[in-house]
């Protein structure tokens, strides 16, 4: 039986998936939080979900989420996400429930399977906001540049994705241009429409975790291309020059 259930650790509530008998690869739904409670933070660290279709976010007292697990998951105790809750009063308590849950089988067809869900009663503890001990940046990643007539009218775009095992990814930023990092960073989501379609300037992507640690990787660097062009140009010029002198000498003799 496939199950979704909550576990509580202080004020951190986590949603887990059990599916010991069948492989599943997609999970979507909403977590209904009582109105008197506030979701302070959503963490996807150590999540089973490798790619979020709906990145977990709060919308009208609900945490909406949807994501996939490439290759599927058939095991127990896989974490989907965690969230920190706070209330105005320590005596407040309420029921956290699941709604609109969809779990799909890893069968190549997207077949929906029955899911057993459970709720949990939440009451805050003294430790309202547990601090995350995380000084490790998000994992290395390799952004990809592509283009497709189906999106952005065929313009070049950038895709990126990484994980942070300690606190989870907060957001991404992209910098276009050779002016170094800092003022050119802009918050971005994948797929990102590249502004400089000529691709003659450096593009960097920064992943930031919930503790503020950063991982910056280069998505595109024109330097290698420039060197190639310069080298090729020199060869062509030398070749043409040689041809010119050889032909001049030949015609001069004849």
């Amino acid at each position: 039986m496939t199950k979704l259930f909550f576990e509580k650790d202080g004020n951190l509530v986590s949603l887990f998936l059990d599916s010991p008998d069948q492989a599943v690869n997609s999970v979507a739904g909403e977590i209904i939080v009582p109105a008197k409670m506030t979701v302070r933070q959503i963490q996807d660290a150590n999540s089973l979900i490798n790619f979020w279709v709906d990145t977990p976010a709060v919308k009208e007292d609900k945490i909406i989420f949807a994501g996939i697990i490439p290759g599927g998951y058939q095991d127990t105790g896989g974490k989907i996400l965690s969230f920190l809750l706070a209330t105005d009063s320590k005596s407040d308590f309420g029921l956290i429930e699941l709604g609109k849950i969809r779990v799909l089988l890893n069968d190549g067809l997207g077949t929906e399977t029955a899911v057993e869900t459970s709720s949990i009663i939440f009451q805050p503890t003294d430790n309202v906001l547990a601090s995350l001990e995380d000084d490790i940046p998000p994992e290395e990643f390799a952004p990809l540049i592509s283009s497709d007539p189906a999106i952005f009218n065929g313009a070049k775009f950038l895709v990126f994705q990484t994980q942070d095992k300690q606190s989870g990814i907060s957001h991404y930023e992209v910098s276009e241009g050779d002016y170094g990092s800092g003022e050119h960073w802009q918050r971005a989501a994948s797929p990102y429409l590249i502004i400089n379609q000529k691709l003659d300037e450096r593009i960097e992507v920064k992943a930031v975790d919930l503790s503020g640690n950063e991982r910056i990787v280069t998505a595109f660097s024109p330097s290698g291309d420039y060197l190639d062009y310069i080298f090729l140009s020199i060869i062509i010029i030398v070749f043409l020059t040689l041809c010119f002198f050889v032909s001049k000498k030949f015609f001069h003799r004849s």
Binding site: P20, D21, A23, N25, S26, A28, A45, N46, S47, L48, N50, F51, V53, A66, I68, I69, P70, G71, G72, Y73, Q74, D75, T76, G78, K79, R102, L104, L105, N106, D107, G108, L109, G110, I136, E139, F141, A142, L144, S146, D148, P149, A150, I151, F152, F157, V159, F160, Q161, Q163, K165, Q166, S190, P191
Partner: protein, 419 residues
């Protein structure tokens, strides 16, 4: 109702507590015999009492592996080793009743076994730091018979070094990572995905065995996925395995056994003609091919020294209509899971299969023969949006074809994912 008849007297079949499983010759040889005949029949005790809507029947004397061997991970700790393994899925009347762990300090045993119950993890404690321990996991059926045994996995507990964690499992102190080993196809490419993205690509040896190390990882939960490409570029199904990595410890994951690749030479075949079912797997092994029909058929085919196998199916054994076939392999007491299924149709004409079979049939939106973050991003772009007219044919061809992008389309991509 399953009736059993022979040339013996009927009252010889009275017994307390036995089941006839339409006979399955299982591992451990507890069904062998040199001098018996078995006849099976289906009947009803009285007219009209045995009507049924939808039932499966497997007749004849069948032999096929009933359970894939578990993949096991071992993470060394201070005086302990944490073991976890993939759940064994049994079939054909078998159910997994529980697991045993075998422990030894010499590779190959003899092992001392301990019963664990129906769980998929265990912490072995009171171990001696600095001593290499060797473990196997045995899956048992409900009666306590062994139906699958993992390959051996090793780990060496090491005393905790203050705040630096422990080393073990084959790695050095302070390194966080994973060693992955298993069987693919001889001299063929094996791709390892870490959380859905390609981490490393390696080549299996002539014996189809591969081993890779990934280090420099941070502690946490990972989902590793592995697939192989055979010598013709056909990809195996994706084998996934979740593991939790501990700071300063290299976790060993052993016994990954990629299912055989499989293909057919005809998309459609005239009833009565042969259709070739072929692919690649471990060399000199035995491949079990399942053909989905009104009555599921299991046949065996040997793989040669290069791992190639071929079975010519006489289509008079199946009825006209759509069929699928899939394969698993057994070698040296290891059994792979079943791989991807391929379709064929038995009808009134013969249509040869295409040659470009290495590309994923679904999910590959940009036509680069891969299903990865780019395809995911293209699909995600149309999530919650009305589809552009020019995108609809691709959605129909490579996704669910329902004219919209929703979770089902992403699930299809996840199934065919290549990274």
């Amino acid at each position: 109702m399953l009736g059993l008849a022979s040339f013996s007297r009927a009252d010889e079949y009275t017994a307390t507590g036995f089941r006839v499983l339409d006979p399955v010759l299982a591992p451990a040889q507890f069904s062998t015999s040199t001098d018996f005949q078995l006849f099976g029949s289906i009947g009803e005790p009285a007219l009209g009492l045995s009507t049924a809507i939808g039932f499966g029947l497997r007749s004849a004397f069948l032999y096929f592996p009933v359970a894939a061997t578990p993949v096991v991970s071992a993470t060394a700790g201070d005086g302990s080793v944490v073991l976890s393994w993939s759940a064994v899925t049994a079939s054909v009347g078998w159910t997994v009743g529980g697991y045993n762990v075998g422990q030894a300090t010499v590779s190959g045993g003899p092992y001392t076994y301990a019963s664990l119950g129906d769980v998929t993890s265990s912490t072995r404690s009171s171990l001696t730091n600095g001593t290499a321990y060797y473990f196997v996991i045995r899956a048992e059926d409900a009666l306590g018979y062994t139906i699958a045994t993992s390959t051996e996995i090793t780990a060496t507990p090491v005393a905790s070094s203050g705040g630096g964690g422990v080393g073990g499992g084959g790695g050095g102190i302070g390194v966080t990572g994973v060693n992955l080993s298993g069987r693919g196809y001889p001299l063929s490419q094996v791709t390892i995905l870490k959380d859905g993205q390609i981490a490393v690509v390696t080549i299996a040896g002539p014996d189809a065995k591969f081993a890779v190390s990934l280090t420099g990882l941070s502690a946490g939960s990972y989902l590793f996925a592995i697939y192989g490409e055979d010598s013709s570029g056909r990809r195996s199904s994706l084998f996934t395995f979740p593991v939790y990595l501990t700071t300063g410890v290299v976790t060993n994951i052993g016994g990954v056994f990629l299912a055989p690749t499989i293909d057919v030479d005809k998309r459609e075949v005239v009833y009565g003609e042969n259709i070739a079912i072929f692919g690649q797997t471990v060399s000199s092994s035995t491949v079990t091919i399942a053909i989905n029909s009104h009555q599921e058929i299991f046949v065996k085919a040997p793989a040669d020294e290069t791992g190639l196998y071929l079975y010519n199916l006489d289509t008079t054994l199946v009825e006209k209509g759509d069929h699928t076939t899939k394969a698993k392999v057994a070698v040296a007491n290891e059994i792979s899971p079943f791989g991807n299924a391929v379709k064929f149709h038995v009808g009134n004409q013969t249509i040869l299969a295409g040659v470009n079979k290495s590309c994923p049939p679904r999910g590959d939106l940009n036509g680069d023969c891969r299903v990865n973050l780019i395809d995911f991003s293209i699909t995600a772009y149309w999530y919650h949006r009305p589809l552009m007219v020019s995108f609809r044919p691709r959605e129909k061809a490579f996704l669910s074809g329902d004219g919209k992008v929703d979770l089902v389309d992403f699930s299809i991509m996840a199934y065919y994912w290549t990274g």
